[in-house]
């Protein structure tokens, strides 16, 4: 039979006295830890997802008609509305620069489909060059079929998600609303985890013809030589009339600056959650100290020094934070997908990969932060307990 009991055992069992209060405090800490680790995971995940999206574009620079840089960035990554056009002849001008390896023209077209969803929606078609585009996007694999048979065929290659949404397979027909033109699905792409999954690709010439935009394009994707000086090339491209040059680095900066506002908001929420949890810990432990005022006095009469009592109360705080932290981290791992969805709703643009990248290192960092907060929160209640004089508690018994 045991002949010893440690301060840590005593501290742990002290917390079992008021189980509901202890559980609620742990829950508060857990929620803060969840917010904190999700935020840290988001910080890590968003940037890597954005990098992945940009790498998967297949080109490093996009030239568009002059306009809003945010629109250009969105167009580059996602395909957008509010389209501006430039002449297709710009391709030849771009190709004159020695740093340029390859150029692919693109024409984005969008029509309103009254039958899409409950109140209609936009159908977007991306006209691409059947020669240069597949060469640049060599990572795209087909689930079914292949690229277009002719450069002006009424054919489409449908991204994985678009095919699922439209419930189309190779050989099926699709209709362009408003234009009343039918085209044939010749390929369905395998899932790539990029914006291409939701895109309907058609030959450039076909889109130009259907939408009366012959000789016009919305963008030109440029693959640049690895050793080229990007800044120098960008400056040269700006000499072209009425174009806007968006480089990968610029896109990243633009998106990150948009996201930073949301980040500040989320950081503020995390800070408030941590402060509330901290106050909760102080309140719980202080209440517990005041309730045990006499008992702490008796413990001191037994020979406990102030530091012993301080350590006991501090340990109680650490135990609360350890449990709370572990639960919060567990929740974060378990619900990272839901958190991902919530954050996507908050942000103006989100890359296609996973936004929350949580790993064991982040878990340890969060646990460390939560423990640090616990140690700071525990100082005042522990100090109060350490100062209890045994005589005061005994006097309160009378005589």
């Amino acid at each position: 039979m045991t002949k010893k009991i440690s301060i840590y055992q005593v501290a742990y069992k002290n917390l079992l006295r008021k189980k509901t209060r202890t559980a609620l405090t742990i829950l508060g800490i857990g929620l803060s830890a969840w917010v904190l680790i999700s935020l840290l995971g988001f910080n890590r995940g968003y940037e890597s997802a954005l990098n992945k999206d940009i790498d998967n574009m297949g080109f490093q620079v996009l030239v568009t008609a002059k306009g809003c840089p945010y629109e250009a960035a969105t167009l580059m990554l996602k395909g957008g509305t509010g389209l501006r056009y430039m002449k297709e002849s710009v391709i030849a001008d771009i190709l004159k620069h020695k740093e340029v390896q390859q150029v692919t023209p693109q024409l984005m077209a969008a029509v309103f489909d009254p039958n899409k969803g409950e109140s209609g929606g936009i159908n977007a078609y991306l006209g691409v060059d059947p020669v240069t585009f597949p060469a640049m996007k060599s990572y795209l694999k087909f689930k079914q079929g292949g690229w277009f048979t002719q450069s002006d065929a009424l054919e489409a290659v449908v991204g994985y998600e678009a095919a699922e949404l439209e419930q189309r397979e190779v050989g099926d027909k699709m209709l362009i609303p408003d234009k009343n033109i039918e085209f044939k699905v010749v390929g369905v792409l395998a899932r790539s985890g990029t914006a291409d999954d939701g895109t309907i690709f058609m030959p450039l010439k076909t889109v130009q013809k259907i939408f009366d935009k012959e000789g016009l394009i919305t963008a030109a994707g440029i693959k640049v030589d690895k050793n080229a000086n990007m800044t120098e090339l960008e400056n040269k491209l700006y000499d072209l009339p009425d174009v806007q040059v968006v480089s990968m680095a610029q896109v990243k900066t633009t998106i990150m600056s948009l996201v930073s506002t949301a980040k500040v908001m989320v950081f503020s929420i995390a800070l408030i959650a941590i402060l509330i949890a901290m106050l909760g810990v102080i309140n719980t432990i202080l209440m517990s100290v005041l309730e045990r005022y006499q008992e702490i006095g008796i413990i001191k009469s037994m020979g406990a020094m102030p530091w012993d009592v301080f350590r006991m109360i501090w340990t109680e705080t650490v135990i609360l934070c350890l449990f709370g932290g572990a639960i919060g981290i567990g929740i974060a791992f378990a619900l990272s997908k839901i958190t991902d969805v919530l954050i996507r709703r908050l942000l103006p643009y989100t890359p296609t990969g996973s936004l929350i990248a949580i790993n064991s290192r982040l878990g340890l960092i969060t646990l460390g932060v939560v423990l640090g907060i616990g140690l700071v929160s525990g100082i005042y209640p522990a100090w109060r307990a350490a100062r209890v004089r045994p005589l005061e508690s005994i006097r309160s018994e009378g005589d």
């Binding site: 010893k4 009991i5 413990i299 020094m305 012993d308 018994e397 009378g398």
Partner: protein, 229 residues
């Protein structure tokens, strides 16, 4: 048994004065006494007679305003020299075991864990006695795994006594230990204290309102208005 005539403690002209605003209240007034090792002394007196204040000073829970105190022949404090809380704690854990009117058992610890509680903070090198022996001596051997809420008042006070004994104190201070118990349980606790004194040679200082409990002691000191009557 303790050797005869060796003094457990000696107090000389102890005085304790409390200030309440401009008013001075003399709780203990010029008390001198000596207690031999193995003595069983009870302090009796009406409420406010200063018996608890006196026992707090003798038990190093408080400093006297003036006077001096020797424990085991060693001067603990003398005229105008008071001890810090840490110094008092060091003496307390070496010399004394305490039991009070309220039991102050930790509700989430078992009987055995409550008895072992002082070891979490301090364990005397000579405290080698098996806590189970103490619990057996006090008739609690079948209650070791129980929680305080499952015990009677008398049993809870016996657990508190076991807790006070686990570090082998030289002197046991019992301040109104039967104040929360009925007469049958009071008698039972009186019997336990007497047994500890007679069989183990433990020096016992007992404060009580209860004259019949005071009778279990070898010597009774009556206090009135802070003075020995």
């Amino acid at each position: 048994m303790a050797p005869e005539n060796i003094l457990a403690l000696e107090a000389f002209n102890l005085k304790k004065v409390y200030k309440r605003g401009a008013e001075e209240i003399v709780a203990v007034d010029d008390v001198s006494l000596s207690v031999k090792k193995g003595d069983f002394v009870s302090f009796i007196g009406p409420s406010g007679s200063g018996k608890t204040t006196l026992i707090n000073i003798l038990g190093c829970l408080d400093n006297a305003t003036s006077g001096s105190l020797k424990i085991g022949g060693e001067t603990v404090f003398a005229e105008n020299k008071s001890l810090s809380e840490s110094e008092l704690t060091r003496i307390r854990r070496r010399v004394f075991g305490y039991i009070f009117q309220k039991f102050y058992l930790v509700p989430t610890l078992t009987v055995l864990e409550n008895v072992l509680l002082p070891f979490a903070f301090f364990q005397k090198a000579e405290a080698t006695a098996d806590p189970m022996d103490i619990l057996t001596f006090l008739g609690l051997e079948k209650r070791v795994a129980h929680r305080p809420s499952e015990l009677s008042g008398g049993e809870m006070q016996r657990v508190a006594i076991a807790r006070a004994l686990v570090n082998k104190p030289e002197i046991l201070l019992a301040d109104e230990p039967t104040g929360n118990l009925d007469s049958k349980r009071s008698e039972e606790i009186g019997g336990v204290l007497k047994q500890l004194n007679a069989k183990e040679g433990l020096t016992v200082l007992l404060v009580t309102h209860n004259p019949s409990l005071a009778k279990v002691a070898d010597r009774t000191i009556s206090l009135h208005d802070g003075r020995i009557a």
